[in-house]
Symmetry: D2
Subunit: 343 residues, 4 copies
């Protein structure tokens, strides 16, 4: 049994990790921690775990000591010393935060406050989007688990950019996320009566996930890609739907569909829907799946790609476990096979 620990287990991504790891046949949840709730049982914070998992929340050091692999789900800036401690102790570190996602320190400085404390550490970090970087993930000790929006955008554009189906310029990414993406911290925009029956964009063109999306798309395209990214906040708990607009390079919809279907035919977690079907966040809830649907506006020759993921699973905790599986040589979908609820 792999001993896994979670630092920051009481945030939404943290407790989703708990849910998934409790169901994983080859993982034992060795320790969990929380700064805010240290000493309490996690089931006091989340009564859904009452009688199921009543473990007491400890501190980060204990988690590192007891675990073979440490997941951290923390605000940005805190993971760097933890990663160092883990790697020093010979543990695998999977960071669900943003500290190791961007390879370029200047870009990091521009979008986050603070820089790279230890560059060698950042050089070891592998960006944990398995559909694209599985090769590097296999041997990684330090994995930067991708952001939720970047996951949905990269999977939507990966075959299109790589296979030359769409143009590399003028890509528009219009994303809509459920409320858990904003976390468990109280804020007016996620106060029930404010968000319910409401809908708006936020951080249009200036969201921190923009450079992360561009880094991955540039890797795929083999050249510097710039995109326009606008996130919106949906009055639902879970899910991201991303609608991508890209200029067609002259293909028919059926050919585009064929390219995508072939490309992802062996992907455990990406399903290309049939022509005429639409990706919907409700069909991937609680699973690590990404549904992709393809559409073509013929009169402007624009490819429209929509991708749906559960922001807390494929967009966070599930993908982190997928990375664990790869690192430990398990089947990629171990512990992640649960069927989606249909409602």
């Amino acid at each position: 049994m792999i001993k896994a620990g979670i630092i920051g287990a009481t945030g939404y991504a943290g407790v989703e990790l708990v849910r998934i790891l409790l169901n994983h046949p080859f993982v034992e949840l060795a320790a969990i921690s929380s700064v805010s709730f240290e000493g309490k049982k996690i089931s006091e914070i989340y009564p859904s775990l009452y009688g199921v998992y009543d473990e007491t929340l400890s501190d980060g050091d204990t988690v590192i000591k007891k675990s073979d692999v440490v997941f951290a789900s923390l605000p940005h800036g805190i993971s760097q010393p933890l990663a160092k401690a883990c790697l020093g102790a010979g543990k695998i570190f999977i960071d669900l935060g943003a500290d190791f996602r961007l390879r370029d320190e200047d870009t990091y400085r521009k979008w986050y406050d603070g820089g790279f404390d230890d560059k060698t550490l950042h050089e070891k970090a592998v960006y944990g989007l398995p559909e694209i970087y599985a090769g590097s993930i296999k041997n990684a000790k330090l994995i930067a688990n991708p952001g939720c929006y970047p996951t949905s955008a990269a999977l939507a554009l990966y075959p299109g950019l790589l296979m030359g189906v769409c143009e590399k310029t003028g890509i528009i990414i219009d994303s809509k996320s459920g409320a858990t993406g904003a976390g468990r911290g109280l804020a007016l925009n996620t106060h029930f009566a404010e968000l319910n029956e409401g809908f708006s964009a936020y951080k249009a063109g200036v969201h921190r996930h923009s450079p992360e999306i561009e880094q991955t798309l540039s890797d795929i395209a083999g050249e510097r890609i710039s995109i326009t990214f606008v996130p919106h906040l949906l009055p639902v708990n879970r899910g991201i739907l991303t609608t991508v607009y890209a200029k067609n390079k002259g293909f028919s919809l059926s050919r585009i569909h064929e390219v995508y279907s072939d490309f992802y035919k062996d992907a455990a977690f990406v399903k290309v829907l049939n022509p005429g079907e639409y990706a919907n966040i409700k069909n991937v809830r609680m699973t690590n799946m990404c549904h992709i649907s393809l559409h073509l506006d013929e009169h402007t020759d624009t490819i429209i790609i929509t991708s749906a993921i559960d922001n807390m699973v494929k967009g966070a905790a599930g993908q982190a476990v997928q990375n664990l599986n790869i690192v430990f040589g398990l089947p990629e979908d171990e512990g992640l096979k649960g069927t989606a609820p249909s409602f």
Copy 2:
């Protein structure tokens, strides 16, 4: 592997059975049927199953032939011939509908149209609420899976009535159910813009689950119990919260809590919350759990019990699988151990 089949697999309870059985380690889903969608893949109806379970929907006869145990999730009145066919062929029949729940034919006639086609069949039927009737379920061939409201009400009142904590008269049961309880059939009261931001009672005092609740409570109390039952429709997908009001027989809240906690201490699926906590439908979603919280209005000496279940799991498909486990000698919670999502 136990071969299980589902007749009526495309209704909400049917597809929830699919979800649960696909995750059951000792069950193989042998066949599924649907009158409305025969010949189609179930994943065309529910895209959440796309690439996960793409089985074609057949007919009832095929399901019976291929299965050791047949679940039927159908409108009332249709299960009787199916039950006969199953028992004749030596199969177990677990009915999620209402045909075999009421033991008294006159009561059945009063609340449903039609009577008992074959009384010997009804004599064989066992009411499948395992926390109360596990002894009879073990040897049953024909199980009447309880209604969702009756499950939530009976579990809330079982220790109270059996142990003499509350009076047997004047019990009020005020229940609130999510929209899936009304099924997948289109109706104005479950049209999105009508139900969203709305809330009302329905069938106050005249819901068909009233006699079913009374049958079970009378079994518990050892005498004829009459209750007042009012259901309400909640603008959520899943869950029933039932608030029960019963006259206290002189106990302190801590004593009542002790009685309930002791009573259910070995129950796999019933958790009595700590004093001061409240049962909430969100904490039992997608699980077979029933959360119970206990409260006392001292100035009127009224016990207030709230119970929360997922109407589609403990209130339907999960309980049906719990019954399967009991009949086949498996641990009661086999295939039902999935941790609840926390949001």
Copy 3:
């Protein structure tokens, strides 16, 4: 034009008062205040008012000085000095908080922290539930606007208790309120991802509105009435549905319906629905209406009354304006005639 001011205009009840008073043909909104947002425009806090009402928030003293009638929508304990100042300056004071609702100081002390600073002030206070106390309201200078739950419960029971339709003992009041009832202050139970798809009771038997409900019902019945009251939190923005259970004194449903219909036939804001119909919060949203539906469980002889109000209108701001109309000799429904949205 009557000059009205609002102290505490940026809470949900306060801004609902703004909405209603802006539409009132005989009222001029003279000044508004907020401790948290003094100096800002209210439309910065509520963009729904942008370009419609961009008034700057001042302080309480300014509001009192500029107004003929002062509404206060504040946490309990703060209204007493304001009331004194208003009455001293010859202004009408309408308090949407709890400070003056309970006539008995011991009861107040038991449920709230603090007592009556000035008893003569409390003797002048009139409980502003117009359907019951219109006679006293007419000449009042200090009006205690009722709580939302007490309004819904009292209107449901008023004819039944007064006309001797139901027993005076054993009354159960099961209420369900939308999220705005918990205010605009951030809290975990009204964080979107916690409340959405959730539902539970809270403060069962121990909510501060219990003694307020009992005070009014005792006035109606002419004797001390004790009730059991349990509130629940609904995942909707607006509305309270209250389900009342009371023992029938031997009447048929049609007779009960007749009594209620006759009783409320001239009430501007109470509508008794036809037999078979159910009160629904969606049908009274944004209006001062109370819908009442009547049901009878014949086999236990229990009368079931459901009442629906908008918690922020008839349960707060609308009722406060109804009180203003009565005090100033205007038609009771002046400024409150707006038709409900149907969705």
Copy 4:
């Protein structure tokens, strides 16, 4: 008093017209009709009107006879004979359906089944988007009230295209609509448990509102404009948020903001939000307002415009009343001044 009638009063747009016209000081609601519910009171269909407006639904002929101005809210294809009858009888006809929105018959044939029965009738039709076509509306007898999506898109792009702020090619329009846009007719995609917690695109690039949007934008630009339009279905009752992406022609965000603010400074119903603010559907609910927010992605030089309207008010019934006001020489906002609810 202007005598107004509504043909198709029981659809969502129809009953919203009822709500608005009942509050209009210079309009008398002379007659209403419904094919499905003829002979019933409208308050039986919509209990929100119970005791407020209990008028009986008649037929189309009666409505035409009794009215000076007839609103029709019907499926496409039915309005043409009604328009003819109205104009023949000297009545004003305001069509909320699609029959008269497209000026080009070939385009109409391509997107709708059927053609123009009477071309002279279509030549008389004026497209009723007052912010753009007020001059023609003034003298119109036959007004084609715009679609909801086209209204939100045209108002977002009007100043930008007219003043040369953005390029005329490559415009992307990503819209998200509440469920009432799909009407009151029952359908699986608006069944509560299907839409709640779900979100997806539909008719990507092939929605009937595409040619209507292009017709208006081409009018503005003075040349043929092609756009890419993708609608999505939101789990809320009301509102459309449209996010527009257009190439900047070299302006700073503050200059773009200035252009828009100046342009709309006298518009009764269009508010340009301050820099940094975001248009949100919750802030325009129940009103005829359109909120517009402006953003600039500097690194790709893309202007991002978001516009929020209530799809049933500015997107349907409210705009129809705005048109009535213009035709009858009333202030444009007569009967449309109601303040938005803040939640």
